[in-house]
């Protein structure tokens, strides 16, 4: 069973601490959502886990330190879906998803039949079969998001990182994308760490939330525990009502302040 433990994670940009003292522990199948205002360090945390920025502290996956892994080894353990993925307009969907197999193909080698089968199966599973030979430039936003998720899954990594997976999508596609991720993390027992702006959706889909503020984790727990109007007022500077639905959903509703500040 894979577990992701983070102890004392610290990220610095030019001497300035963007993240400090972050501690977290996740087990396979768990979904942690990072929330917090802009600049709180959500992206930096994801990028540190993805190996894109240097960090100090102890991050272990299944007991093995992440920092000691090479690019290739890390790519087999952690799949990163950036906020604005680069999708070359004239690359086909199949070729793009095949990029996710790169960590398993030797540098001077070619894809094997097994790689092709894995990609084909993924394309089927994510209902992309009809798009298999389409060029990326001809896809809509919702389809593009599915394709990027497919590429991430092709890495067969136990950890999936998503940086603002829904910011470019309409309401319907937001729901589809998050339902897809939820279904996949259950069927594949993935550890999912996402950064999201939409607090209601964050609470609705993830198991736990971590509220970051100026690089420090200031609140952690379930949606019910973290999403409180006082907490949001203090750290987001927002005036909001928090409604608890009968089915347990926590809804954050911004409210206008009637002229008093």
């Amino acid at each position: 069973m894979n577990s992701l433990t983070i102890r004392g994670l610290r990220v610095e940009y030019g001497g300035c601490a963007v993240l400090s003292n972050v501690d977290e522990a996740l087990v396979a199948g768990e979904w942690l959502c990072l929330i917090g205002p802009n600049g709180a360090g959500k992206s930096s945390l994801l990028r540190a886990l993805a190996g894109l920025v240097n960090f100090s502290g102890d991050v272990q996956l299944g007991g093995r330190p992440l920092g000691a892994l090479s690019n290739r080894q890390l790519a087999r353990q952690v799949a990163f879906v950036p906020q604005e993925p680069e999708l070359p307009a004239d690359m086909s969907v199949t070729d793009y998803v095949m990029l996710g197999r790169n960590p398993y193909i030797s540098t001077f080698g070619r894809e094997s039949a097994q790689d092709r089968q894995i990609v084909a199966d993924l394309i089927d599973e994510l209902s992309l079969s009809v798009y298999a030979r389409r060029l990326l430039g001809t896809l809509s936003g919702g389809e593009r998001q599915r394709v990027v998720i497919a590429r991430a899954l092709a890495q067969e990594a136990p950890v999936l990182l998503l940086d603002e997976p829904t910011s470019a999508l309409d309401l319907g596609h937001q729901q589809h994308a998050l339902e897809l991720v939820d279904q996949l993390r259950r069927s594949r027992n993935l550890i999912v760490v996402s950064a999201m702006h939409d607090l209601t959706l964050a609470g609705l889909y993830s198991d736990r939330l971590l509220l970051l503020h100026q690089g420090v984790g200031v609140a952690r727990g379930t949606a019910r525990q973290v999403l409180r109007s006082e907490t949001l007022a203090e750290f987001y500077g927002v005036s909001a009502r928090v409604i608890h639905e009968d089915d347990g959903t926590v809804v954050v509703v911004p409210q206008r302040s009637n002229g008093e500040y």
């Binding site: 993805a50 799949a79 950036p82 070359p88 307009a89 086909s92 030979r133 389409r134």
Partner: protein, 352 residues
């Protein structure tokens, strides 16, 4: 950029382009052997070539002296044109892939300016002392100049912080190019009498190509080509940008430096014997991309075929049109390359 077509081409339809590429090199190569100011009547040449093949015997009516012209004068030119054309196109395509910019040419990062400076110095200094040297110092100086310039670019480009981004390298290349060009101008101003020689060298020529030249560049171009072709799949992964390629397991900085070194090696060798032939390194990969899409796995090798054919073809008008003097090949590549490219763009638009 025009909207791409909707579907990726199937493997079968792509295979035909390889055949076309190889065939065009052979056909144009034969043409290059056939056409020229002196030598046997044109239709006798293909017969003479066939006659030289094992198991084939045809009376082509070509005398030994005439065959000498074909084999000792034209054939090295054709082969060298093929090698240089293939190398410049491959280097251009590789740079474009690894810097993710379709406008970079094989002379990026200072190779052209460095080689030009080397050649200029060699011409300026190449007086009585070096006239008796067995080796022509110009190609050597050009080669060394090109390599030093790129080494300088890399040193400067990676000296400031650990960013090592593609942009920083390109900017360093601009700085080194400016410096080398300035020094070159300085040297030329103090040695007015070699200006014409330098200028004609810069425009590129295959005039005095010999089998010796071919033997000289072949190892460098072969090594460079093999390395670049081996990396073409990885360069394709880099199409999604440095960060995403890293998360997919690519060591971006290492790939970039290896590609730059390999491309510089081959380009410097090509420039050393043929001068600065422009256009080929940008036009050919672009044309291939317009026809076949941007997958580097196809663009890199196919560019070699098309580049070889293109330069062999470009070498022909130069020696026929203004005979007995020669038009520098750099002018021909520009003159025919530009309209050809426009034609390709138009063809693409019409097809949409």
């Amino acid at each position: 950029m025009t909207t791409p077509t909707v579907f990726a081409a199937s493997r079968g339809s792509r295979a035909i382009w390889w055949v076309l590429g190889a065939v065009s090199v052979v056909v144009v190569g034969l043409l290059g052997l056939t056409l020229g100011p002196a030598g046997p009547t044109w239709w006798r040449v293909p017969l003479a070539v066939l006659d030289r093949l094992p198991l084939v015997s045809i009376d082509s009516g070509v005398t030994d002296a005439q065959w000498n012209i074909v084999w000792q004068i034209r054939a090295p030119r054709v082969v060298l044109a093929a090698l240089v054309g293939a190398m410049l196109s491959l280097a251009g395509a590789s740079y474009q892939g690894v810097f993710r910019n379709p406008l970079v040419d094989p002379y990026l990062l200072g190779v052209a300016a460095g080689a030009g400076l080397g050649a200029t110095v060699a011409f300026a200094v190449n007086r009585d002392a070096t006239a008796t040297w067995p080796i022509d110092p110009v190609p050597l100086a050009a080669f060394v100049g090109g390599v030093i310039a790129v080494a300088l670019t890399y040193t400067i480009g990676t000296a400031f912080g650990r960013s090592r981004s593609a942009t920083t390298l390109v900017l360093a290349g601009v700085a080194v190019t400016s410096l080398a060009t300035a020094v070159q101008t300085f040297v030329l101003q103090r040695n007015n009498d070699v200006v014409r020689q330098v200028y004609s060298w810069i425009l590129g020529r295959l005039t005095s190509a010999t089998w010796g030249d071919v033997r000289l560049v072949l190892p460098y171009i072969a090594v460079s080509a093999v390395i670049l072709l081996m990396y073409r799949r990885v360069i394709d992964v880099m199409r999604v940008g440095d960060d995403e390629a890293r998360t997919l397991g690519v060591n971006v900085n290492l790939v970039r430096i290896v590609v730059v070194l390999a491309a510089t090696l081959g380009t410097s060798a090509a420039v050393a014997v043929s001068g600065l032939i422009g256009f080929v390194g940008i036009i050919v990969p672009h044309a291939v991309r317009l026809l076949m899409g941007s997958s580097n796995r196809i663009v890199l090798p196919l560019s070699m075929f098309v580049g070889a054919a293109f330069l062999i073809a470009a070498d022909i008008p130069g020696r026929i049109l203004t005979s007995p003097s020669e038009t520098p090949i750099g002018i021909v590549t520009a003159f025919f390359g530009a309209p050809f490219f426009l034609f390709l763009l138009r063809m693409r638009e019409v097809r949409q």
